[in-house]
Symmetry: C2
Subunit: 424 residues, 2 copies
């Protein structure tokens, strides 16, 4: 046993990177460093929310961190939130979520775990269901638990406070959510709990409850949230901007290729193991334009597909992507190639076409041009709602395009309008 323990003074060699990359904060940092130095096998708490069974690479950012810590010998404790899911945590949502049935929860948890263990080491994971302790939770237990916190403390949670202040409904049962989650930490004697920045409040409540009940309090390990494929909002199923762990290789590849260049470095840092030094080099390359961002994006796409489908699937996805989208060398549509002439014939003046405000184009013409399919087939796709332009479902009307506009056809075929004068 002692042989396995590291020196009490030294951090494990990998720790530095693990504690920095993608990490917003660790509260309290010193306490967690001491715990790492202690040689103890730490219990890393992570909560599974069965109301959201589909994992995307935003979740994987955190799971990858767990995996790294498992590799240092620590133990993941996965809490299946089968009780809290029935309550529904409306974090950041303006509407109280519907409660799930026990069966929905069970099915969702299975789906979740199948994906979870794509990343996390099952051998070093203890799975605990909240129902183990909450099925027999009495009213007396509820009273004891709730008596340890004040209403004011609960309303320090941003979204609670905001809804309360805005006179939007905040159910009394919702106050129970953070408390039950906190109680999980006590039951499993968590040393650290992991969450995104939107979970900080809940993590701190767990820490406080442990302390209040005489237990060594957990550290709170807060990770950055990955931005969605739109490059703007956090990755979230309800926003439709996710890359899911179980998306097929081609779809994952295509979705990665659709992210804006501005999100590229964030993705590289949070979703790959490319070393920090190399990331710094890539950053420099991108800044001084010594590399085509497309090439970096293809590498990112390969890295991500390889994680969930293997290196060979990643190669195939890339080959297919190149075959379909890069016959012409790029999935970009040059501004100058837009079918302006045709528009002018239907009454748009040349001045309008060339104005900085954007150029009007028939959506069907655009789709036909981008994909090489017939105009009638393009119209059919539009009627089916399969075409989006700048995030809005295209109709048969004329759309207004600018350099930088994106066209999405189907689930993961993306094109970007590029100003010829600035390209190559």
């Amino acid at each position: 046993v002692t042989a396995k323990r590291a020196s009490k003074k030294d951090l494990p060699p990998d720790a530095e990177g693990i504690l920095a990359r993608g990490v917003i904060e660790i509260i309290p940092r010193d306490e967690f460093l001491d715990a790492l130095r202690s040689g103890r096998k730490l219990r890393l708490k992570f909560g599974l929310d069965p109301s959201k069974p589909d994992l995307h690479i935003g979740h994987a950012v955190l799971l990858r961190k767990l995996r790294r810590l498992q590799e240092l010998g620590h133990q993941v404790v996965l809490i299946v939130g089968d009780w809290t899911a029935q309550i529904g945590d409306p974090s950041g949502q303006s509407i109280t979520r519907p409660m799930l049935t026990a069966e929905e929860v069970r099915a969702n948890a299975e789906t979740y775990m199948r994906q979870f263990f794509h990343v996390v080491d099952r051998e070093r994971t203890e799975i605990r269901w909240q129902s183990e302790w909450f099925d027999n939770f009495t009213l007396a237990d509820v009273v004891r638990l709730t008596s340890r916190f004040t209403v004011a403390q609960m309303l320090q949670r941003d979204d609670f406070r905001q809804r309360f202040d805005a006179q939007k409904p905040l159910g009394v049962h919702e106050l129970l959510y953070p408390l039950l989650q906190a109680y999980d930490s006590v039951v499993i004697e968590a040393d650290v709990e992991f969450g995104g920045s939107d979970q900080l409040f809940n993590l701190l409540v767990g820490r406080e409850l442990q302390q209040d009940m005489g237990q060594r309090p957990q550290s709170c390990f807060v990770m950055r949230l990955l931005v969605g494929t739109d490059g703007a909002q956090k990755m979230s199923k309800s926003l439709g901007n996710t890359i899911d762990l179980e998306d097929p290789p081609g779809e994952q590849y295509g979705k990665v290729m659709s992210i804006p260049d501005s999100a590229l470095l964030d993705y590289l840092e949070l979703t790959t193991d490319i070393p920090d030094e190399e990331l710094a080099f890539i950053r420099k390359q991108l800044e001084d334009r010594s590399v085509n961002p497309m090439e970096i994006k293809k590498r990112l796409a390969r890295e991500i597909v390889a994680q969930f489908h293997g290196a060979s699937a990643a190669q195939d996805a890339e080959a297919e992507f190149e075959r379909v989208f890069q016959q012409g060398g790029t999935p970009e549509i040059l501004w100058k190639d837009l079918p302006f002439a045709q528009l002018i014939t239907i009454g748009i003046s040349p001045a309008e076409v060339l104005s900085a405000k954007g150029a009007p184009v028939m959506a069907a013409t655009l789709v036909a041009m981008a994909t090489g399919i017939s105009m009638s087939e393009a119209r059919r796709l539009i009627e089916q709602g399969a075409v989006e332009i700048d995030g809005k479902r295209a109709t048969k009307k004329i759309v207004n395009l600018k350099p930088g506009s994106t066209i999405r056809i189907g689930r993961h075929h993306f094109f970007r309008i590029v100003d010829a004068s600035k390209s190559s």
Copy 2:
């Protein structure tokens, strides 16, 4: 069965008075009148708070109302709040009450009921313990119940809101209190719930929950609160101004005699069955000074003692009171008889003595004079803390007296300082 039912249109002959005397409001009044007219046997909910086992005549105001409605054929359902007592309802208190143990609750409930049935008809009372339904209340039940109310709704309760706004602690568990009490109404299918004005919020939550759960909602029957023997604050054990149901006859009698004249009519209305017409007559007598208030007070004292100890005990208490306190004709001390001379000799000027601000007197001298005991015995009583002057425990120091000041010796011997120029 039909023979027992009154006409659907008429109220029972006594109802008018029952619905008026001591009643602040009945919400909604029309609904309750319809229920009375329906001929149904109504279920009158009343909550027993086992954290306050000693009943005083302030409680009896409400119990007497229940009794009257029982006499019309209705059913009292007494809820023993063995669960809510463990939570502690801090109505109007600034400090969260300590939780009681189950054993304390049981012992207190027994004490309470012994007193309760001095007034309420046991035969027409169904006793239900909250533990019947809350002992097996699951976390799912708690979630379902709490999900029906918002935090904002709960903070409409005055004392919750005040504490919240003043940043005084308001425990999350305290929000459960009104909800559990409301759930009681659902379980027992209450038609009416009774409470003092400080209970209005809780009663309304019960009504709302019943409605929300598809049950005919209860009416809320809100009674006035009786003022304490100080004539100023509501009668409450913690304020030390109660007349308890189980106080011995002499003590009840003496305490009634100690109330200020200003509270007399209130007491007559709320604690006796003296008819309204007679009350009106007494009011007039008092206003035009055609009666000595002392005589009315003695009648009140007799009425109250007779309720809890019988008419004969009331007669005895009166005789004893007269023997001890009215040897001199009155338990009053005339202003001009105060031992000023002695004070002047110890350095108080005549001007000070005669000022409107009050006169300084040695407490022991005063006690000796009032009771006829020796100065040394008077000093001993003061040392034992048995003497209060104007509500404050007397010390050996000089006290400041005014006409209207009261002296209490022991538990129920009272004297009042009267300005000779204004008396008789």
